[in-house]
């Protein structure tokens, strides 16, 4: 691609991405009836989306060929263990990455 074609691709993608992020918020002005289908759908969307994003972010390590499973298991357990005492997202995130990298280094000799 030329520089102009890369810019065209980026602008088209950026415009559509803005529309996906902004238009539903701008257009949906009324509160859906409590207990209704839409209210329940939206309430479940958040946790379902975050669970999906977590799984999708580790799937490349599992499918099609599993790799670095021990660092993945250790990093996941460390994230959970660090979160539980103080429910701190920052501490849990850093602990998970630290343990993942440490176990990777131990096993690979890096």
């Amino acid at each position: 691609m030329t520089g102009g074609e890369i810019l065209l691709m980026a602008v088209l993608t950026g415009l559509a991405t803005w529309a996906f992020r902004a238009l539903p918020t701008l257009l949906m002005r009324a509160e859906p009836p409590p207990g209704g289908l839409l209210a329940r759908f939206l309430a479940a969307t958040g946790p379902a989306a975050i669970a999906t994003l977590f799984v999708a972010s580790v799937v490349p390590q599992l499918i099609p060929v599993p790799r670095d499973l021990w660092p993945l298991a250790a990093g996941t357990l460390a994230t959970v263990a660090a979160f539980l005492p103080r429910r701190s997202v920052i501490v849990a995130t850093l602990a998970g990455a630290l343990v993942y990298g440490a176990v990777f280094a131990l096993l690979s000799g890096a």
Binding site: M1, L12, A22, P24, F41, A48, A49, A51, V55, S108
Partner: protein
């Protein structure tokens, strides 16, 4: 007979006063996990962009104009493979379709607040900003447009800045440091897992379980994008059907 109560007695017996809405600075503080997660990934993106021959300005432009990590990494693959720009844009747009769900879900969690500036702050509603905002509202914090602007702008600035740093440093930045590269690569999964625990409750467990299974099945049957869409939609549908 109408009983008259003294104002202070009414205040003492009434509900707790509503806490003030958090401002821009509180949004910046809430963005710390996102900054920690974004910066290294953005640096890696910049390094990869440099590796396929993009300049610092071109790499920075991609982050500035698209601001969507997964789509941007795929954009590098498409650019390197010489894909037609319109075909590449269509592919990247399809990947970002999932963002349609984020705004309404966030407004529902925040109690349908005022959204005068939504056209501006919605630009920053990435996966991570959405998840962080949702987790914060679940703690009882009120919504304000200043707060979410602080949260989103920090993520945006970090993403663009990290990209420029990575592209400037070039392809050799992480060479010889595989353990650090591996640990940095787990920052985003760890962030999602921590955010998931912060919003999890007994009521949403069926939706979470169905989302996990549907994502894995989607990855086996379709593609990464298909996995994400099937996980989100199946999980949300489970929240409707399983009470």
């Amino acid at each position: 007979m109408v009983m008259r109560l003294r104002p202070d007695a009414v205040r003492a017996a009434g509900p707790d006063p509503v806490p003030p809405a958090p401002g821009f600075r509180a949004g910046v503080v809430a963005a710390v996990p996102i900054i920690l997660g974004y910066f290294p990934i953005a640096v890696v993106f910049g390094v990869e962009a440099s590796r396929i021959g993009l300049s610092v300005l071109q790499a920075g432009m991609l982050s500035l104009v698209i601001f969507a990590g997964a789509a941007q990494f795929l954009a590098l693959v498409l650019i390197a493979s010489g894909a037609a720009p319109l075909v590449a844009a269509g592919t990247l747009i399809a990947i970002n379709l999932r963002h349609v769900l984020y705004g309404p879900a966030l407004m529902k969690a925040a109690g349908q607040p005022e959204r005068r500036w939504a056209a501006l702050w919605s630009w920053c509603l990435t996966d991570e900003v959405f998840a962080q905002a949702l987790a914060t509202f679940r703690t009882g914090q009120r919504f304000s447009e200043s707060w979410i602007t602080g949260l989103g702008l920090c993520g945006y600035a970090t993403w663009v800045g990290g990209t420029m740093v990575g592209a400037w440093a070039g392809a050799g930045l992480l060479t010889g440091m595989p353990a650090i590269e591996a640990g940095l690569g787990f920052l985003i999964p760890a962030l999602f897992l921590a955010l998931l625990m912060s919003v999890a409750s007994r009521a949403v467990l069926p939706a979470v379980a169905v989302a996990v299974v549907a994502t894995l099945l989607g990855a086996l049957v379709f593609s990464a994008t298909g996995a994400i869409l099937s996980g989100m939609i199946a999980g949300a549908m489970a929240g409707v059907l399983i009470r």
